[in-house]
Symmetry: C2
């Protein structure tokens, strides 16, 4: 195999109660990437469309992730890789744009190398891209991008990822207000310390959500999608967050929260009709302000990154 074309999916991190640990993978939103072997050693970013991003390998998340992978091989291969990135996920949208590029890069190179690395190793390489993007090697977006479905980052050091089951017929509707929130700002707004009483409520919900996934219990899943810790702070950065949430739940959504560090807002719903209804209602709600927005509807992607052709 000399060249591979892949779909690198968007992801939702946090999922209300699971700040920094839970994530899930989307189907209908994602980038495309082409990675090919090249006679020149090392990694080159040769094409980027859809976003203005750095071409220098060491300044590009896909490049840095690829270098982490090659570093694990001590660079002992006698060829290199060219990467083309066709962005559909807007950087800074909160649905794992950098994670898609980083995860896609190492997934594709691993395929071209004959799959020497496991999925968990790919997550470890990909999160070096996240370190470049946000200063911290977070795994809650790259893990679902690589594993698919819902994932739990059990720990970051050592890196342990748990693959979780899903709820049948689960869809998500995402609204992306076209405003910029810097990840650094959305981190800075969070307190260092939180009330123990609220933390107890939060971990009860994490436990309940995992149980809901294992028992395919949509109503318990819905009942667990409450964030006592982060949403009260970050929602202030997203105009009309409360109105969107209200209209989503009224339209039948199981839950609604901030995707990653925002500004995208996710909702979950149980079948296609309800999902489309949610999309219509939150679009109506957001149309009342003057902020442009995009709305996406997607099933949960159980596979993760997909090979388009090779």
């Amino acid at each position: 195999m000399k060249e591979i074309k892949i779909f690198a999916p968007a992801t939702i991190a946090n999922i209300s109660c699971g700040f920094d640990v839970l994530g899930c993978c989307l189907d209908a939103i994602g980038d495309e990437m082409i990675v090919r072997k090249s006679p020149d050693k090392g990694v080159k970013i040769t094409k980027i469309t859809g976003a203005t991003l750095p071409y220098e390998t060491k300044n590009n998340v896909a490049g840095v992730a690829a270098l982490a992978l090659l570093d694990a091989l001590n660079f002992e291969i006698d060829y290199g890789f060219e990467i083309e990135i066709y962005k559909n996920i807007k950087p800074g949208s909160g649905i794992g744009s950098s994670a898609a590029s980083a995860a896609g890069s190492v997934f594709a190179i691993n395929q071209l190398l004959g799959k020497p690395f496991s999925k968990i190793e790919l997550v470890a390489f990909a999160r070096e891209g996240e370190r470049l993007a946000c200063g911290s090697p977070i795994a809650d977006n790259v893990a679902p991008a690589i594993f698919g479905g819902f994932t739990l980052v059990k720990s970051t050091n050592p890196l342990k990822i748990i693959e979780l089951p899903t709820i049948d017929e689960l869809y998500t509707t995402i609204i992306h207000p076209q405003i910029e929130i810097k990840t650094a700002d959305s981190r800075a707004i969070l307190p260092n310390d939180i009330p123990l009483k609220k933390a107890v409520k939060q971990w009860a919900n994490v436990g309940a959500l995992i149980h809901a996934l294992h028992t395919n219990n949509a109503s318990l899943f819905a009942d667990s999608l409450t964030d006592y810790i982060v949403e009260p702070y970050r929602s202030k950065l997203i105009p009309d967050f409360g109105l969107v949430k209200e209209s989503a739940l009224k339209a039948g959504a199981l839950g609604c929260g901030i995707s990653g560090s925002g500004p995208s807002i996710f909702t979950f719903s149980k079948n296609k009709q309800v999902t489309e209804n949610v999309a219509i209602e939150i679009s109506k709600t957001y149309s009342k302000n003057k902020i442009p927005f995009h709305v996406y509807v997607s099933k949960i992607n159980l596979e993760g990154i997909k090979i388009i052709n090779s």
Copy 2:
């Protein structure tokens, strides 16, 4: 049915990562109670052995729980109940002594009444006994006493309890140092606020533990039994806690932590032989100090309160 004799089990609350939400039920440690119908209305505590506890109904956890149940019937039954309590679980031991009495009381009365109430309703009545015992209507001991196995208190208001699966062949060894720790003191030692970073680690472990129970994964279960929040504070109140933990893990225990608010220390292990080895090793360790102690070994009790005869 005029009279019923039951076994009211001891329970472990918190279970390392699950402060205030997780609990599990024991088999080999528990009280016995006899409850019988009486021509006199209301509830009377007629016998208590094994501990010095109040006979006045309103000052006794079994009495208060029973009154909460009768209150839900508007006291519209033309007879009353006599309760005999044969304590084996020492009050203040940290393995759910008050919960056993409160849960046993309402379970038995419900049987005598022809089971008008569900298990969740019984938990709601029983936690009124906990309110008397510790000032707060906590449910993390009464829930596993009534449901059996492992339980998650999803929320306390409204009260929602989740029954969890267990790990095959799971045993617990409990060491109870004969010292007194007042629940009020062990609450007071906890901070109001905790670091967000530690809370994230804690809820990752709660999620992982629930996943481990659903997948019968003993090694993940073991790996999740870490308490970043409460144990660092409360362990200071229990002499040689660290030494016990060290020797338990060395002897093959899956995990070790403070049972409820202590002073009892629990360990989990995977089969009878390892369990007995753990019991021997922690006994040796604790014999080196001058504090008297008891050690108990028990399987996980999947049934909860048991009817001895009726």
